[in-house]
């Protein structure tokens, strides 16, 4: 396997310790937990998505583990503006705050709370299971552009996270780029559902949820590949990564960095485990492989 030369990298305006970030909503609720993941080898972390007002999230079950993946419908629980307290201990660390809103105005408000208090923002325009938020907005190019513009107005690095649940993800990525995104992140979860045949009802409290984990890796590769052709800003790959070879594969598809989420279920030290395989003193510069599968 190709290995990469270790060292800090800059992607979409954000300086990271390596190419591996913690994905949004995974162990991202508290500052201490984010610090733990940074200490265990992540090059950066993305927080839980924070919105305009506190939310408790959906009733449980919020998450089920299925063959090769996880289906979740957390419902974007978050403490809203109070989350700034969690960031206090993380000053200077590579922390990206994930934010969401229902309108461009809400995105502007929430972005304002965090602009300057973290390395940058990631706009969740892609959560598939929260009415009126996330993917409800993220499948409309015009809205994506407007929300991005609202958040990017603070002039801080602004990543936009996209949903795979659209006919043409490239079109949405291009809209984010027009709105001023400094990078696009792909993908959020794939719309999914399971039913308990014994209880004759959907398992998740919210009925619908989003599939993540190994099962969606081929979907992520595809989306990153499409976005690399559709956008000129960097693409950050996410979805089903669990090995260093997966990271290399997403990079060859076009990812300049990656986010890892569900894989922590098997190993909370997945970042150091992957970094160990991915980096070596004889490694190549990531530039040599990013997008090379398009040749």
């Amino acid at each position: 396997m190709v290995t990469l030369y270790p060292g800090p990298v800059e992607v979409g305006g954000i300086r990271l310790r390596n190419h591996l970030l913690l994905a949004a909503g995974i162990l991202g609720t508290t500052g201490a937990s984010l610090a733990r993941i940074l200490a265990s080898g992540a090059g950066g972390v993305v927080t839980k998505s924070i919105g305009p007002s506190p939310k408790e999230g959906h009733p449980g079950p919020c998450l089920i583990v299925v063959d090769g993946g996880i289906i979740n419908a957390m419902g974007l629980p978050n403490p809203s503006a109070a989350f700034t307290e969690e960031l206090a201990a993380l000053q200077g660390e590579p922390v990206v705050v994930s934010i969401f809103g229902g309108t461009p105005e809400e995105f502007r408000t929430v972005a304002g709370w965090f602009a300057g208090r973290a390395s940058g923002l990631e706009l969740n325009l892609s959560c598939p299971h929260a009415e009126g938020y996330g993917a409800a907005i993220g499948s409309d190019p015009a809205l994506v552009e407007e929300c991005t513009r609202a958040a990017a107005s603070y002039g801080v690095p602004t990543w936009v996270k996209l949903t795979p649940n659209v006919a043409n993800i490239g079109e949405i990525g291009a809209a984010a780029e027009r709105g001023g995104a400094t990078a696009v992140v792909a993908v959020n979860t794939v719309k999914a559902m399971r039913i308990s045949t014994a209880l004759r009802r959907p398992v998740l409290g919210n009925r619908f949820g989003g599939l993540s984990g190994k099962a969606i890796f081929p979907v992520a590769v595809r989306c990153v590949y499409d976005l690399y052709e559709a956008c000129s800003i960097p693409v950050i790959g996410c979805g089903g990564i669990s090995t260093a070879d997966n990271v290399v594969e997403l990079m060859m598809a076009g990812a300049s960095a990656v986010e890892i989420g569900s894989a922590v279920i098997d190993d909370i030290d997945v970042f150091s485990a992957i970094a160990k395989d991915l980096y070596g003193p004889d490694g190549v510069d990531a530039q040599e492989i990013v997008g090379c599968a398009h040749a």
Partner: protein
């Protein structure tokens, strides 16, 4: 990641343990270590963490929506359980158990497997003492009630002075957080915090160490996966006994 869909179980028996606590026995045995828990799906309502009081039962105090819905269920009704989750208690040598209120539930498997030697049991009042008879059969039982209706009149923590902590390889504790924090303070004072094993309660959504809602300060330890049982020395200087986060992730005093 192998499939862990909630297993459907039928309630086969409902035991009224105290006026506010019931045991729900179901038709499936879940191999678990003492102190492990399951996520209990109350269809149409919510999913909440509950310790296994035996391989096929949970013992529940009615405190809100999900627990009230459980209390409204009947024999034959179906619920879902996934797990067992968490680390549970691992003991070797003599064990002192200290339990208060419904917190006695995760300690019961230690008793029924013969791994608890002395048990300090507390409750608000005599009728709320949980599992006293079953504990008495298998361990030395000492009782305290807040109102003095049984045993020592006062807090269960006050019973600690009546045992010799040096006798025990570990002290397993579960109950209201203020009670557990008081126990930790005593152990710390006696210089044996590291022998304390505290089973924590934090708001849990996933139960499998992914969502972050149960993470604790300052180490980011996940109660659902790294816990729920932590040794006392790890808890010293932590949020334990001071604050906890709610469903939104906001902090509140405990």
């Amino acid at each position: 990641m192998h499939e862990q869909m909630p297993a459907p179980v039928a309630i086969t028996e409902i035991v009224e343990e105290t006026p506010s606590i019931r045991t729900f026995v179901f038709d499936r045995e879940i191999a678990a270590r003492p102190g492990q828990f399951v996520m209990v799906w109350v269809p149409g309502v919510d999913e909440v963490p509950m310790a296994l009081s035996s391989p096929s039962s949970i013992t529940v105090q009615k405190v809100g929506d999900a627990t009230a819905a459980l209390f409204a269920m009947h024999e034959g009704d179906l619920i879902g359980v996934r797990g067992p989750y968490g680390n549970g208690f691992t003991v070797s040598g003599r064990t002192l158990a200290i339990g208060g209120g419904v917190g006695v539930s995760p300690l019961l498997p230690l008793v029924t497997t013969g791994q608890a030697d002395t048990f300090l049991l507390g409750a608000r009042t005599a009728s709320e003492l949980l599992f006293a008879d079953r504990i008495r059969e298998a361990a030395t039982l000492m009782v305290a009630t807040d109102d003095g209706t049984a045993g020592h009149h006062g807090f269960v923590t006050q019973l600690i002075s009546r045992v010799d902590l040096a006798d025990f390889a570990q002290i397993c504790v579960c109950g209201p957080e203020v009670m557990m924090a008081a126990v930790l303070a005593i152990l710390d004072r006696e210089g044996c915090a590291e022998r304390g094993r505290f089973s924590l309660h934090r708001y849990m959504k996933c139960g499998v160490g992914v969502c972050g809602s149960c993470c604790t300060d300052p180490h980011g330890l996940r109660v659902c996966r790294d816990g729920p049982v932590f040794s006392g020395d790890i808890l010293l200087g932590s949020e334990f006994g001071r604050y906890a986060r709610d469903a939104t992730g906001s902090r509140h005093r405990v």
